[in-house]
Amino acid sequence: MNLESIQMALRGIVANRMRSALTMLGILIGVGAVIILVAVGAGSATKTRKSLEALGSNTLTVSAGGFGQGNRGGTQSRNLQITDADAVALSDKLQAPDIAAVVPTITGGGSVTAAADGASATVGQFLGTSEAYSAVRNAPVEAGTFFTAADVSNHASVVVIGTTVAKNLLGATGDPNSLIGQPVQFGSHSLTVIGVLKTKGSNGFQDQDDIALVPYTTVRDNYTGNTGTISQLIVQASGGNATGPAQTEITTILQARHKGSTANSFRVLNQASLLQTANANNRTFTVLLGSVAAISLLVGGIGVMNIMLVTVTERTREIGIRKAIGARTSAILSQFLTEAVLLSVLGGLLGIAAGIGGSRFNIVGVQPVVQSYSIILAFAVAVAVGLFFGIYPASRAAKLRPIDALRYE
C-alpha cells in the first residue's frame, strides 16, 4: 500500500461523499460504542470499588439476623441482639487473634433533625459509635477533633458532623468549620460540634457527608434508651489476608455466646469478598457490553463490504480502462482494498473521537472511565474489519478480465 493507492482511494471516497459518510458512520458507531460501553463498565467497577473502600479497609460488618431470615416468624433468631458483651468478647485477642478493632454503632431511633440559628435539616445518618470509628471507617476530621475514649466514657454531649450537615445549616456558602464549638440542636438535645469530617462525596448510593457521629453512650442516654444492644459492629481484621479468619472467628464466638443460634443468625459482611464479587460482576458486565458493541462494529464492516461491492460494480468500466493501460492484478486489488480500509480507518478515528467525547458524560449514574486498551482494540478491529470485508470486493475487481470490464455497460 503506497501513497499512490491512498490518493486514488481518497479520490474514490470523496467522489461519493454521502455514501462514504454513511458507511463510515457504521464503523464510527461500532468503534464509539465499544469505547463508551467498555468505559461505562470500567466506570461502574470504579464506583463499586470506591464505595466499598469508603467503608474502610479490611473491615467486616456484623449485624443480627442472617440473610433470608427476616419474616420467617417466631424463631429466637429474630429476637437475637448483638450486645456490648459480644463486642468485648470479639475484642479478646486470645479468642480472636485476627481481629484488630471492634467498633460498635447504634442507629439513633427514627430520623433526627439538626437545627441551629433558625435553619434545620434532617440528618442522613445519625450514628452513635466509639472513638475508633474514625480510624476503622477511614473518616478523619478536616477541622477540630474526633471525640475521644474519655468523651465516650463521660457520655459527653459532643458531635462530629459531615460537611453536608454543616452546609444544610449554614447554606452552601457557609464555612463548615465556623460551627466548631457551637451548640447544635439534634432532635431533643443540644450537642456541641467538636469536629468536621473530611469530605468523602457520594458512594453512589448515599451522600457520605450527610452524617453526624456521637459517642454511643450519649446516644443511649438521650435517644435510644440504655438497652445494651448494638445495631452493627464494625470489625477490623488485623491485615489484608486476615479477613477470612476473622470472619470465622466472629461466627464461632457469636454462635458460642448465643444459645440456639446458627451461622445464619448473624450477618457478617466481608468487604474483601464483596469487592471480589463486585469485580467479577463488573467484568461480566463489561464483557457483555463490549460484545454488544463489537457486534455493531461487525455490522459496520458488512456495510463496508456492501458499499465496496456497489463501488466495484459501478466502476467496472474504470477497472477495465485501468487494466487496458497496464494495471496489474495487485494494483487493482490494493486500490480497492485501500479504499475499504481507508473507509473503516476514517470511521474508526471518528469513532474514537465520538467514544472519548461521549465518555465525558455521566451515563445512567456512572462516570465512564475510558480504557486505552479498548481504543486500541476497537481501532485495530475496525482496520481488520475493513481488510476482511474489503478483500472479497477488491479481489472481485482484480479478477475481472479486461475485455469484460471494458465492455460493461
Binding site: 474504470e318 485501468r322 493501460i325 497496464g326 471494458l406
Partner: protein, 266 residues
C-alpha cells in the same frame, strides 16, 4: 511490481530503418475467436493470418459485426483467441500470465477507443499519468512526461480539467496523450473518430500521421474512407475473414495523406 526502465525520451524517434532484422510487431496465424457455445455460437473471427511490420500504418475496415473490434482486442492482448498463435514483437502472448500481459499493454501498446474511456472525475493530467503510475515511474518524472504528451496534442492549457469539462475532440486527444505517454511502439485505435466532428477528426488524424512518421506502428479500425486513406495498408474484414488486404504506400515511407506541413523526405 517490476519497474521497467521508462525512458524519459518519450518522443525520441525510433530509427525508421533498423539495420538489424527484427521480428514483425504482429504475427498472427490461424487465429479464431468464437463467442458462446452450441446454438448461440458466433464465429467473430475465422482462421485469420496477419503479419504487421514495424512502422506500418494500417486501417482495418468492414461492416458492423464483421469482427474488427474482436481482432483489435486480440491484437491488444485485451482478449485471448479461441485458437491459433499470436506473437507480439516475437513474444508468444498465450504463454504469459495476466501480470506479464498487463506489463506488455503498459509498455508496448497505446489504446485509443471510440468512447475515449478516460477515468471520470480525474484530471487530464492524472489520466495521462496513470500508465506511468502502473509502470512504477517516480512522480516528478511522470508528471513531466504527462505534461509533454498533453502539450503535444495541444492541451497544455487543459491539464487540470476533468473529462466532463472537455469536448469530445479534446477528450480523445487526452486519450491519445495517455496512449503515447509510455512511448509505445504500437498504437491501436478502435474507431477513434467515430464520435468526433470533422475538425476533431482531422486533428486526430494529423496526430496519427505524426506518430507513424516517428516510426510507430499505427492500427486504426474505421468504417470511414476519409480515415482509411491516411493508412499505408487497408485490410477489409467480412464475417470474421480478411477479404481484402491492399498496400497503398511502402512500410518505410510516409503515410499517403500526411498533413501538408510535413514535407516528404525524398
Amino acid at each position: 511490481m517490476s519497474k521497467s526502465a521508462q525512458t524519459p525520451a518519450a518522443f525520441a524517434e525510433p530509427a525508421p530503418n533498423a539495420s538489424r532484422p527484427r521480428p514483425p510487431v504482429i504475427a498472427m496465424r490461424n487465429v479464431t475467436k468464437t463467442y458462446g457455445v452450441g446454438d448461440v455460437e458466433v464465429h467473430a473471427l475465422r482462421a485469420t493470418t496477419l503479419t504487421i511490420e514495424r512502422s506500418d500504418y494500417i486501417a482495418i475496415m468492414g461492416a458492423s459485426g464483421s469482427g474488427k473490434s474482436t481482432l483489435m482486442n486480440i491484437l491488444g492482448c485485451l482478449d485471448v483467441p479461441t485458437s491459433g498463435r499470436y506473437r507480439l514483437a516475437g513474444i508468444d502472448v498465450s504463454q504469459l500470465d495476466g501480470d506479464a500481459v498487463a506489463d506488455i499493454r503498459n509498455r508496448r501498446i497505446g489504446f485509443v477507443f471510440q468512447s475515449f474511456n478516460l477515468i471520470p472525475r480525474t484530471t487530464a493530467l492524472a489520466n495521462v499519468e496513470m500508465p506511468l503510475v502502473y509502470g512504477g515511474m517516480k512522480r516528478a518524472e511522470r508528471r513531466e512526461l504527462a505534461v509533454r504528451a498533453l502539450t503535444r496534442v495541444g492541451l497544455d492549457h487543459r491539464l487540470h480539467y476533468v473529462p466532463n469539462q472537455l469536448s469530445g475532440g479534446q477528450q480523445q486527444r487526452v486519450a491519445i496523450a495517455r496512449a503515447i505517454v509510455t512511448n509505445p511502439a504500437m498504437i491501436l485505435a478502435d474507431e477513434p473518430t467515430g464520435a468526433l466532428d470533422s475538425t476533431s477528426t482531422a486533428e486526430v488524424l494529423a496526430i496519427f500521421d505524426e506518430l507513424n512518421i516517428e516510426g510507430r506502428t499505427v492500427v486504426v479500425i474505421t468504417h470511414e474512407d476519409e480515415v482509411a486513406r491516411h493508412a499505408k495498408r487497408i485490410i477489409r474484414l467480412r464475417d470474421g475473414l480478411i477479404v481484402d488486404d491492399t498496400r497503398y504506400a511502402p512500410v518505410d515511407g510516409l503515410p499517403p495523406h500526411a498533413s501538408n506541413s510535413l514535407e516528404p523526405a525524398s
